[in-house]
Every structure is written in C-alpha cells, then in structure tokens.
Subunit: 246 residues, 2 copies
C-alpha cells in the first residue's frame, strides 16, 4: 500500500527534493499522513471560497487553478497548479478559503487531514519548515504574476506563462521545459493572463507566427525557448529550484 502511495507522490517528492533533502522519517510521515485519494472531473471545484476545509489537498495528476470571480462575471486565475503541488496547504493555518480552486482537467488528489499536518508541525520542525516553504513558493509565483500583469504586454505575459509551466513540469518529471502536455482552453489562458478570450487567441496566433509556440491537441512546444524566455522576461530565480538546507 505504502509503495502505491509513494509512487503517486513522486512528483511531490521531486518538488521537495529540488529544494532540500528529505529524511527517511520525514518521507514516511508524508506518506502516512495521506488519508485517501480522490478523483474529480474537469471543471469541478475542488474547494470553494468561504469553505473551511478540514483537509489539505495535494494534486497527484491533472491540472487545477485557483480563481475568483469578479462582479462583471469574469474569472481570474491566480495560480495554475501542476502535479506535485499542494492546492490548499495554506488552508491549514488560514482556516477559511478566500478563493476557489477548480480542476482544469481530470485530477487525482491526495488528501491530508489538517490533524495530520498539525501532528507534523508538532513533531517535525524541519519538515514543517519545508511545508512552509511550499506555501511560500506559491507566493513567489503569485508575486511574479503581479509583475507580469502590471508591467508586461499581453504577448510577453503569455510567453512567460508557457516558460513557467515548462520549467515547473520538467521539475516534477512531466515533460520538458520546451515540450509538455497542457490541457487548457484558450479561455483558461485568458483567465490566467487577465485578457478577453478574443485577445488571448490573437496573442497565441502572434506567438505562433513568430515561431515561438505550437499548441495543438493539448501539447505545447516552444521551438525557440531562449527567444520565448527573452520575450517573456522569464528568469527562473523566482522558482527557487535550489537544493539547500532549510
């Protein structure tokens, strides 16, 4: 049983190992803390604004996004999650959700009861700092998006996003920085970039015309990764892919 859990948590462990070494006891604690696995279909909400979840959710496979609706009826994503991400680890200290998370594609989830996380914080200070770190990585991605939304053109933001997703997916063993599976619609892209779907479409076509992007049948490739990074001002420092004691 534990072997199955461990296998499913592989992207998660890769994500952690990119930042610090994990002790055997810590790894076991993370495996034991999983109470269940669940599946949700594309488009379903995983948690909702206002919820007070009693559990945290780790994305095992699929894609998910944190979002909120605004009065005009538009949606804005604040973060796209890839496998290995904790979707709502912050709900453990924060208690109440101030936003929702939806599945962008069929997802498998690993469930961590808050009580199990609390036990970790009481018994494993170093592991606690790593969990803390994970929530801070979310914050770093969100800072980056503020900068992109505030100061980059729509085209540069799109290039940045495709570079970011490539780097994150590669880090968890799910593709290459310039070649990965991405089951999103152009509306999803628009909701990430803060654009109308019409304009998102035009931006995608412009990137295609410049030979910076192909995106068909849920597969993204970046034929000229260096140029895409330059256009999107992508500097992966903010991903903190540095393994060191925390």
């Amino acid at each position: 049983m534990d072997e199955l859990v461990e296998k499913r948590l592989d992207p998660f462990f890769r994500r952690l190992e990119h930042r610090d070494a994990l002790g055997m006891a810590e790894q076991q604690a993370l495996i034991k803390a999983v109470s269940a696995f669940e599946d949700v279909g594309a488009g379903a909400d995983i948690v909702r604004e206002g919820d007070r979840p009693e559990r945290c959710t780790l994305l095992v496979s699929g894609f998910a996004a944190r979002y909120r609706m605004v009065a005009s009826g538009e949606r804005q994503f604040t973060l796209i999650h890839v496998p290995g991400d904790f979707i709502d680890l912050h709900s453990f200290p924060l208690k109440e959700m101030d936003h929702s998370v939806m599945a962008l594609a069929p997802c498998q989830l690993a469930i961590y009861p808050h009580q199990a996380i609390k036990n970790i914080t009481e018994e494993f200070p170093h592991l606690t700092r790593l969990l803390w770190l994970l929530t801070l990585l979310d914050g770093a991605l969100q800072r980056e998006w503020i900068i992109c939304l505030g100061r980059l053109s729509a085209e540069a933001r799109a290039a940045h996003l495709f570079c970011e997703l490539g780097a994150r997916l590669e880090a968890v063993g799910l593709g290459a920085a310039d070649d990965y599976r991405l089951p999103l619609t152009q509306q999803d892209l628009a909701d990430t970039l803060g654009l109308s779907s019409v304009h998102a479409n035009r931006v995608v076509q412009s990137l295609r015309k410049k030979n910076l992007l192909t995106w068909q049948a849920n597969r993204v490739t970046l034929p000229n990764l260096a140029a895409a990074k330059a256009l999107g001002e992508f500097d992966e420092r903010y991903l903190h892919h540095i393994r060191e004691p925390r």
Copy 2:
C-alpha cells in the same frame, strides 16, 4: 528595555492578536528574538533581489514596498507594507530574495536573526504556525492584487487599494478605515496599480470628482467608504481578520 521593544512591536502584536491569542511565553519569545532596531530613509532599499539575508525585518513604523524592475525600466510593486508587517519573513525558509523591498517613507525596522526564528520553530510549534500564517496573509494580499490587476478597471483598482490600506492600518491602530496617513507619491500609486503615472493621476482625479477620495499632504480620507468599497469590489474576507485557534 523589553518594555521599549514591546511598545515598538505594538502594531505587530495587534496584527497577530487579530488572528489568534498569543501566550505569554510566545510574546516574550518574540520580544527576546529582536536583536536590534534600525532606521532607513525614504527611497532606500531594505533588502535587494538576489540577497541572502541572515535576518528578517519587521516594519515598526513607516511604509515599505516589495518590487521588481522590468526590462523597460518600469517598476512594479507587489505588496505595500504597513507597520506591524514582516517585510521578509519569507526569506527565512526561502533563503534567497527574488525581489527587493524599499522604504517608501522613513522607516524603523526591528531585526530578527534567522537563527532566532529557527529557534522559535524548534521550540514553539504554535507560534511557528502563526509566523507561517503571517506569510500566508502576504500571499492572500498578493492573490487579491492579481485579481484586481487582471480584471478590474484602473479606477476600481485604485478604490480597492485605498480601502485595503485603510482596513490594514486601522487593524494595527494607525488610523481609521476611511482616514489615514499615506506618504506615497502618485508614481508609487502607479507602480502599485500597474499604470503610468499620468494615468494614475487621472484616476485619482476621477475619484476626487466622484467625492470618493481626498488625498492631500499625505492624508487620505474616503468620504463615502461604502461607495469606494463597492467600486473597488472590496470584500475584506481576504484579510483574514478572524481571531481563532491556528
């Protein structure tokens, strides 16, 4: 000596007490962990992108902002800090700064060596969760700004910002939600809202014309707070001003 420290940390303790009760030992630990106080002048950087600080910095008085520059030479703020905020608590788990923080006005800072924070994480699990919580509150503010930048008009974003700052300053005892001191320039506002300074100015004037804002000599008042909140779609849930066990 400790009384002086405690007095200076008053906004910080207020900020914490808005979220959870603090034990006497925890309070003492937070007081003892301060190694020094420092002053910085307006415009100075407090920490810089790429730094690997050995200490965390708490804002005692003044205003500061996290920011990054983009290739065009423009600046984007990702968060404005008010007294009682930890400016770079995240540097403790994250190690390397992926952005800079500057003083927007003369600031007094309390210094917490990373080692002192680490000791807290080894000895005070509940207090550790509260520190974690504080970094998550930064994340919540940043999420909110993604939503504002992505989906609200410039005018709505400005209204939102003035409401947010009022709520945060009131919570630490430094003004009222509709009346507070704000020593920022219009350029600072532009860098927060992701606008040019010219457009920021026009937005301010539009709010003035609608009798939603006065802003002279560093003093902000919101004559019609309800209308400002409505325009900016300001719902303070994301501030998590809820006192409960964490």
